[in-house]
Symmetry: C2
C-alpha cells in the first residue's frame, strides 16, 4: 500500500506501474535530515503543484499526475549512524514522473525532471529510465549502426572519421581541397569542425558544393566512398531550411552542435521526409550541463540517452585516454547507453575522440566493441608516412584487433602500422590507471 | 604592438578593434602558473585550430580569425606573491572572439566561446560583451517594455502577473475557469505553469480557446484587459506550428521554456511574420547551466543577455528575497542586463518571482525600478480578503511606492493593503542582510 504523507506519495519500486512513469535518479546534498519531505517536495512541486493545496488540485488530479518518491538512499559516511543536522549529507533519490504530464518531447521532460529544482539547491540528475510507452513516441536514429554500415558497405569493423582542419578561416574552395585529400586517403566519414557553421568566408552551401564534388571525384578515382557531415548548426528554423537545401544539393550527412541548439533539433531534422541522411552530433558546450559534481545532468544523459532519443546516428564525445581526460566508467557508460538495447530505438554510433592513435585502437575496441567510429585526427595527419599511411595504420590496427592478433605481430607485416607504433607506441590502459593511482 | 607568442595573440584592450569582436570573460582555475599558455590555448583552439600548425592555417587566416587574449587577472590570495605550482589559483581571463567566425546566432556563438573547453577543466563563462555590429543581426524583443505598456494602456507602473494553478492535472475547461477568476480579479498578465505544455488531459489548443474566451468575457464584464501566455514549449518545428496555430486562434501571448528548448527558439518564433504577440520566457532548467561555481555560464547570461538577444519580451526569474534564494547582486544584475541600454535592442521586462508580497514591492521597485512585472501568486491567492483584494493590495503598494508614500501610511487609507501588511508585514532588506551576516 502506498503511504500518503501530506501531499506526497511514497512507494516501493515493485508497486509502481512502470509503463506510466519515467524514473529520475538524483544525487542531492542536504544539511537537514528531513529527506522524505525534501524528496516529496520535489515530487509534488515538479508535477501537480505547490505545498499549499489549491482549489482545483483534487485527489483524482493528484493521483493521476503527481510524482512518486520511489527511493531515498543516504550515501553512507562515517557520521552515518546518527547524522547530525548541519552536516551535509549526500542522498540518492529516485522519483517517478507520470510521463503523460510532459508527453513525447525532451524539452518539457527536462522542464519537469530538472526544471525549477535545478535553481534551488545542490541537485544533479544522474539518470532517467524510460518505459517503452515513452520511447515509442520518438523515432530515434534513422540509420544507426546498421544503417550506416549498409551505406558504407562495411559490415563488421569500426569505421574511420576525419575532420576538416583548420576549424575555421579556410574558404570553401580550400575546404573542398582538404576534403579531397581526406577522401582520397581513405577516410570514410568526414566532418566539419564544430567551430564552422555558416560564416561569410566559407558559406555552408559553398562548402557543401565543393566537398560533395571532391567526394564524388575521389570515389571515381580511388573507389573510396565517403560521407560529408556538413555543420548546419543555427537557429532551429534556419537549420530546417539548411537541411532542406543541403538535401537538394545532394548532401550525404548533416552535423549539429545539439548541446547548443537544444535537444529536439536533431529529431526535428530527422523526422523531415526529405532528410534521408545520417546526422552526426557534436558535444561542444555539453560540459556546461554535465561537468559540475553538484548541478546539472549526468554525461550519460547529455552525451548518451538524450542523443539517442533525439535521433543522433553518431555521437562524438571524449575518449577516456585522450587530452580531454574523461573518466573511463563515464566513457564506457556513454557508449553503452548509445549501443545497448533500448526498447525499439536503433543503436547510435559512439565516436570516442581526442588523442586516439593506432596503438590505442585495441583498448578502445575492447572497452566498447566493434560498433564504434575511430577518429584519429592527429595520428592520421601526423603519421611519418603521410595521411594515407596514417589511415592504413588505423585499418591495420582494427583488422589485427578483430582477429586477436597482437599489434606487435601485425606490425611485422604492415610497415604503416609499424611506423605508427614506433611513433606513438602501444597504449596500455592498465599502466595508465596504475600511474594515476601512484 | 601585439605580441605573438607561439600562435597566440596577446593584446591590450585599447588596441582591439572592438566592432569585430565579442569579448568573453571567464573565471578559470589552474594548478600551474602557465596562465598565458592556457589562456592562449583557449583563444587558438576555440577559433582557428590546434596547437600543431596545419597546412591551411596561414598567417592571414590566423590574423583574421584567431581569438585574442585581452586580459589575465590572477585573483589575489594569500599565496599570491609567488604562487607555488600545485596550488589551485583563480584567474579572470578575457578573450576576444572575431564574431564573424560564428555570425549572428547564439548556438554557434556558444559552441565557440564555451564549446569544447566546457568539457576540459574548471572554467565558467562570466560575461560576454557584444559590439553593435553583432547585436544588429538580432531583432531582440518585438514589444519589450514600451510595447507591452502600450498593449495594456499602463504607461508607468509595474504590471501584475498571475499564473494558472494547479501546474498540471486540470482539464482545459477548468483551466479556463481559473483564467476567468484571475482576469476578473484584475490580474493583467496570466501565464501557464511551466509544467504544462500539451498533455492529453489539457491540450494546448483547448486551453487557448477556453482562456481566450474567458479573457474576452472578463474584459466585457469588468473592463479588465489581460494577456494569456500559453506555453508552446516543444520540439522547435512543433513550436513553430503551435505558434502559427495559436495566432490563428487569436492568441495574445506565447510562453517558452527556453532553457530547455535552446536559445534561438524565441527569435525563431518572434521573427515569424504572423507572430505579433509578446513572448514570455520561463527559467526552468536554467540552473543546470548557471548554478555551478566552476562550470557553465553566469546567470546574467542565461537569464539576462541571451534572453534579450533572443527576443524575450518578459523574463521570469528568481527574486533575491523569496524561497529560491538568489543572491541580491545577481538578481539586480539580471534586471539591469535586460533593461539598460544595449545598442538598438529593446529592453526586456524582468519578472522577479517566488515569495513576493505587497510588503516587498517597495524594496523590489527600489532595486529594479518601475519597469518590472510583479508576480505575487501566493500573496494574491492567500489574501484574507480573497483574490481581488489581493490584486488591489499589490496595486495600492505599487501606487504608494511610486508616490514615495510609506506603506504604513497608505495602509491607513486602503483596507486591502492593511490586511496584506497585517498578514505578511513590510519587508526590510537590510534586516534580511543583517540576519544573513550574523
Amino acid at each position: 500500500m502506498n503511504v500518503h504523507y501530506d501531499h506526497i506519495i511514497f512507494c516501493q519500486q515493485e508497486s509502481l506501474p512502470h509503463e506510466d512513469f519515467v524514473i529520475a535518479t538524483y544525487a542531492m546534498w542536504m544539511k537537514t535530515t528531513d529527506w522524505l519531505r525534501r524528496a516529496g517536495a520535489i515530487a509534488v512541486e515538479q508535477t501537480t503543484g505547490t505545498w499549499v493545496p489549491v482549489p482545483h488540485e483534487t485527489p483524482e488530479v493528484r493521483r493521476r499526475h503527481v510524482g512518486r518518491v520511489v527511493a531515498v538512499y543516504p550515501v553512507p559516511s562515517y557520521e552515518d549512524a546518527w547524522p547530525a543536522d548541519q552536516e551535509e549529507k549526500t542522498l540518492i533519490v529516485q522519483i517517478a514522473f507520470p510521463w503523460k504530464n510532459f508527453g513525447h518531447q525532451i524539452a518539457e521532460m527536462l522542464s519537469s525532471v530538472q526544471g525549477n529544482i535545478s535553481m534551488a539547491g545542490k541537485i544533479k540528475l544522474l539518470d532517467l529510465e524510460f518505459p517503452e510507452s515513452f520511447t515509442a513516441g520518438f523515432s530515434g536514429p534513422q540509420f544507426g549502426v546498421q544503417g550506416i554500415r549498409e551505406l558504407m558497405n562495411v559490415p563488421e569493423r569500426p569505421l574511420i572519421l576525419g575532420m576538416i582542419k583548420p576549424c575555421t578561416g579556410a574558404d570553401a574552395k580550400t575546404t573542398g581541397e582538404i576534403y579531397s585529400e581526406l577522401a582520397r586517403a581513405g577516410v570514410e566519414l568526414i566532418k566539419d569542425d564544430e567551430l564552422i557553421a555558416d560564416p561569410e568566408h566559407a558559406p555552408f552551401e559553398k562548402r557543401l558544393e565543393y566537398c560533395l564534388e571532391a567526394g564524388v571525384k575521389a570515389e571515381q578515382d580511388t573507389g573510396n566512398k565517403s560521407i560529408y557531415f556538413v555543420n548546419v548548426t543555427d537557429r532551429p528554423d534556419r537549420m530546417l531550411a539548411k537541411a532542406r537545401r543541403a538535401v537538394e544539393l545532394g548532401a550525404t550527412g548533416l552535423m549539429v552542435n545539439v548541446q547548443a541548439t537544444g535537444f529536439g533539433t536533431i529529431a526535428m531534422l530527422a523526422d523531415m521526409a526529405e532528410v534521408k541522411v545520417p546526422i552526426l552530433s557534436h558535444p561542444c558546450y555539453a560540459g556546461s550541463s554535465y561537468m559540475s559534481p553538484h548541478y546539472g545532468i549526468g554525461s550519460n544523459l547529455a552525451l548518451g540517452k538524450f542523443q539517442r532519443l533525439d535521433g543522433a546516428d553518431i555521437v562524438v564525445y571524449a575518449a577516456a585516454y585522450g587530452k580531454v581526460g574523461a573518466i573511463r566508467e563515464r566513457y564506457i557508460r556513454t557508449a553503452q547507453t548509445l549501443l545497448s538495447k533500448m526498447h525499439d530505438l536503433r543503436p547510435t554510433w559512439p565516436l570516442p575522440a581526442a588523442g586516439m592513435h593506432p596503438g590505442m585502437v585495441p583498448t578502445v575496441m575492447r572497452d566498447l566493441g566493434p560498433d564504434i567510429i575511430v577518429g584519429c585526427g592527429g595520428a592520421m595527419h601526423g603519421h611519418p608516412g603521410g595521411l594515407e599511411a596514417g589511415v592504413q595504420a588505423i585499418l591495420q590496427s582494427i583488422d589485427a584487433t578483430l582477429h586477436d592478433v597482437p599489434l606487435e605481430d601485425a606490425a611485422r607485416e604492415h610497415k604503416e602500422l609499424k611506423q605508427a607504433l614506433d611513433t606513438w607506441g602501444v597504449f596500455d590502459p592498465n599502466k595508465s590507471i596504475f600511474e594515476l593511482t601512484q
